[in-house]
């Protein structure tokens, strides 16, 4: 394809704010029909690249360089708004991360797809445009496209909305399709389908694709070539197979090593990225911790080994992972129902089953993973385990304390024994409080001086310096904030730690660090860990036992390796194939 002009040609693109330069002169070409992935961590400049191409940069940023689109005489960077408008949605189109906010909530989706064509005069009449819209919705494999065209965005699921976005993007047969994290907001099983769809659509029509993501697996699934971005520069450019198996730039090597949750170093820890530029001042890049990994591992090796069980389609409810003696957590026949808001004016609000007849044990010292997709009930279960919510029926015993129906007074002991780490490192810390007050918050009846001493010790334990105590949360990166959350959870010396998607919002490199830290702390404090996540890879690395939850029920439970290697339930099998390990990815590409 070297002789033909590239579809997109970016030369020496520099983007800067008045204070700093954010993109340092990047150049790349995309040939007609080529599928290119742009990968990088948050802040690497990958989204800036896409918005520059679309001419959607915020006005406070200035850009220099040239961006040329095949067949368009103008330089996109200097083209006027009117010219760009005629190109956007026509010769180049974009799909955004969050399909709910990118669709007009008050317009039927069919009309939104049709509008794209009437605006650019590719379909003459409204009626033809509507017909074509239904065809497009069929092409993105929406079930019942004629009916779906009449739906409003909120009536569709996340995956379906993203399909509608794709139909809109492809409506005018663009030369170039830009996708900015198109599947990040979707569940893993849906993600695989949407990615396959994107791949098929662009291949069939010969559209060039620029796919922006932080997830190597996504690139491997769809793209032929990959660009790796790091701090405003493209550091590596090559075929996906080569970059994945033999990365050349040190950053790419570390990124791929850190993404691989199945490979560990000789101390049983994940590979982290210890490039000096990644760690920010204020935190030790990797916490040097006086831990003999083998010794502690031997001490805390769970005495209890779970049986691998699977829920039969019409079988009786099973007590999963049933433990002998006194388990740390014992849940029997747990159900939680919600009344959905609304319904009709005169009809009662519909009942939603959050959890249905869930029974399981977690033995003391066990690392228990709960994996499930959004809406599966895993967060409800977690909230009930922490006594933040009450079950509709069933019993929950944690550390011998009955949690269901207990008053706050009865739970006083429980509150310091069971702590929780949340997903969102921004939302889980009060922006108006200083770190010392945040970490000290769970302490009771402790003098201020003693509290400060304990906070300092706890911050050291999670690898943060004592001088962070007087700062506010916004001064920290996501990984550091998550360390602060962990410090807060551990300051009361709890026996049970519940983590809700604790690493899902973090960059790959930071994720590995936080997982290592969690693993160390669980050993050191002899914690019983309940780790809730949608990511099977993370659970596989961290937990010895895993329960798969779907539609409010545990469908399968057993030792992690066993569940991962020999999934019994069809849903688990689907989940496992949707989250391939790095080895499998490499194998798929090379074959």
């Amino acid at each position: 394809m070297t002789d033909s002009t590239p579809t997109l040609s970016v030369t020496d693109l520099r983007v800067g704010s008045p204070f700093t330069e954010l993109l340092h002169g990047i150049s790349f070409d995309i040939a007609a029909g080529e599928r290119v992935g742009l990968i990088g961590e948050s802040g690497s400049g990958k989204s800036l690249t896409a918005t520059s191409v679309m001419g959607l940069l915020p006005e406070t940023l200035t850009a220099t360089g040239t961006i040329r689109l095949n067949g368009v005489d103008a330089d996109l960077l200097s083209a006027g708004e009117r010219r760009l408008n005629s190109l956007r949605g026509n010769t180049m189109a974009m799909v955004f991360q969050e399909p709910m906010t990118a669709l007009n909530p008050l317009m039927r989706v069919g009309a939104q797809v049709a509008e794209i064509m009437t605006v650019h005069h590719t379909e003459r009449g409204r009626r033809q445009a509507r017909q074509r819209a239904v065809e497009l919705l069929a092409q993105v494999k929406l079930p019942n496209p004629a009916e779906a065209a009449l739906a409003f965005p909120h009536q569709l699921s996340g995956g379906q909305r993203q399909r509608v976005m794709l139909a809109m993007a492809m409506a005018n047969d663009p030369q170039l399709l830009l996708c900015d994290e198109p599947t990040t907001a979707l569940d893993v099983t849906v993600q695989a389908e949407v990615l396959k769809l994107i791949g098929n659509l662009v291949t069939d029509r010969g559209t060039a694709l620029l796919l922006i993501t932080h997830d190597i697996a996504v690139v491997a699934e769809v793209c032929q070539r990959v660009l790796v971005m790091y701090q405003g520069d493209i550091v590596e450019d090559g075929p996906v197979g080569r970059v994945l198996t033999a990365p050349q730039h040190p950053y790419t090597q570390k990124l791929i090593a850190a993404s691989d949750l199945s490979s560990v170093d000789d101390r049983g820890r994940l590979h982290t990225m210890s490039m000096p530029v990644v760690s920010t001042p204020g935190a030790a890049p990797s916490s040097p911790r006086p831990i003999q990994a083998d010794a502690t591992a031997a001490l805390t090796a769970p005495p209890h080994r779970a049986a691998h069980q699977c829920l039969e389609p019409d079988g009786p409810p099973i007590i999963f992972n049933e433990a002998t003696g006194a388990p740390a957590i014992s849940v029997r026949g747990l159900s939680r129902q919600y009344r959905r808001r609304g319904g009709g004016l005169f009809t009662p609000a519909p009942v939603v089953h959050g959890l249905r007849e869930v029974s399981f044990d977690v033995a003391e010292g066990q690392r228990f993973g709960i994996v499930g997709e959004s809406g599966s009930g895993k967060s409800t279960l977690m909230r009930i385990l922490c006594a933040l919510d009450q079950p509709t029926s069933g019993t929950v015993d944690v550390l011998g304390q009955s949690v269901d129906g207990a008053s706050e007074r009865q739970l006083r002991e429980f509150r310091s024994e069971v702590q929780i780490v949340f997903q969102d490192p921004m939302g889980s810390l009060d922006p108006r409080m200083r770190v010392r007050d945040i970490v000290a918050e769970p302490l009771r009846q402790v003098s201020r001086a003693e509290a400060l001493v304990r906070v300092e010790a706890q911050l050291a334990a999670v690898g943060l310096d004592a001088d962070v105590m007087h700062r506010h949360p916004h001064q920290f990166s996501g990984g550091q904030r998550q360390r602060i959350s962990i410090a807060r959870a551990l300051i009361t010396r709890p026996r049970v730690l519940v983590a809700d998607e604790a690493v899902s919002a973090l960059d790959v490199s930071v994720r590995a660090q936080v997982l290592n830290l969690l693993a160390d702390l669980v050993d050191e404090y002899r914690l019983t860990l309940v780790f809730v996540s949608h990511d099977l890879g993370v659970i596989r690395h961290l937990c010895d036992t895993v329960a798969v939850i779907s539609d409010g029920r545990i469908v399968e439970c057993g030792p992690t390796a066993s569940v991962y290697d020999r999934p019994l339930h069809p849903y688990t099998q689907q989940l496992v194939t949707a989250t391939p390990s790095m080895d499998e990815l490499a194998r798929r590409i090379t074959s």
Partner: protein
């Protein structure tokens, strides 16, 4: 592609939302504040006496803005009038915040029956105009500055309760509140340590806007003779006094009008500017 077509781009410089508005508001309020402070120590003439030798003089070198029907210097009255406007505004907003904010926070922290009950009560009082309440209070307890301040305060409280409740409900869904609950913190602690500091931005905006409304309401009450009693100068009563001389000395009605406009506009601009600065939706996404 909808996003591209419908979204207008943010044209504010990042991180400095509402700069001009905020400063314009601060300058106008600064003028009023300066007038109030200066008039405590000094005014060109005594604004409370009667001077038969200088009735209805036009603006000139001696009397900057002229004199009124009692021979009082208008400029002095305007300066002194700022005091009463600011006093009424401060006390009324203070009463409103003290009543409304805890009410709203308690409602927002207890979703369900209690919240519904409290908010329906709030709706009823919200349906009752503050000005009407002040007139009724004036009729019952006798007209005066104190009655006006208390009535305006009570009348404005429901608006504070609404704002505080909606803010509280947002904060209660944050994970740091969940974390505090998971470590057994009481409702009082969460309300004081987490909720109040995090909704203070919204409350300050509301306070600024309510302040403007209170200044306007005080002027209206004084105009009706239900506010500040004579001889204390008040912008509203200056309007009323000037009314009778509308065709003889029309400027007399302009000066207090400008003063009221400056104060109300100042507080509204300040409120808008602060809203732009505090409202997360206005901030440019990175």
């Amino acid at each position: 592609m909808t996003a591209i077509k419908y979204e207008t781009r943010a044209r504010r410089p990042a991180g400095h939302g509402g700069g001009t508005t905020l400063w314009a508001g601060l300058v106008l309020i600064g003028l009023v504040l300066l007038a109030a402070v200066v008039s405590v120590f000094w005014t060109p003439f005594d604004p409370e006496g009667v001077f038969s030798d200088s009735i209805l003089l036009p603006p000139g070198a001696k009397h900057l803005l002229g004199t009124d029907s009692f021979g009082r210097d208008v400029f002095s009255s305007i300066l002194r009038g700022a005091q009463i406007s600011l006093l009424v505004g401060t006390v009324a907003v203070g009463i409103a915040a003290v009543l409304g904010v805890p009410f709203g926070i308690v409602a927002g922290m207890n979703p369900g029956r209690l919240d519904q009950f409290m908010m329906r009560g709030n709706d009823i009082s919200l349906a009752f105009p503050a000005l009407l309440l002040a007139i009724i209070f004036g009729a019952i307890f006798g007209a005066g500055t104190v009655t006006a301040m208390v009535a305006l305060g009570i009348g404005t409280a429901p608006a504070f309760a609404l704002i505080a409740r909606s803010g509280t409900m947002q904060i209660m869904s944050r994970e740091y509140v969940q974390a505090a609950r998971a470590s057994g913190k009481s409702g009082l602690f969460i309300g004081l340590r987490h909720v109040l500091p995090n909704i203070s931005g919204m409350l300050i905006v509301q306070a600024s806007v309510s302040f403007g409304i209170a200044v306007l309401a005080e002027a209206a009450l004084s105009y009706l003779g239900l506010g500040t009693p004579p001889p204390t100068p008040s912008w509203g009563r200056m309007l009323q006094d000037a009314q009778g001389y509308l065709f003889i000395e029309p400027l007399l009605i302009v000066w207090p009008g400008i003063a009221i406009a400056v104060a109300v506009l100042g507080f509204n601009l300040l409120g808008d500017g602060l809203r732009d600065r505090f409202d997360p939706k206005m901030q440019v996404k990175r």
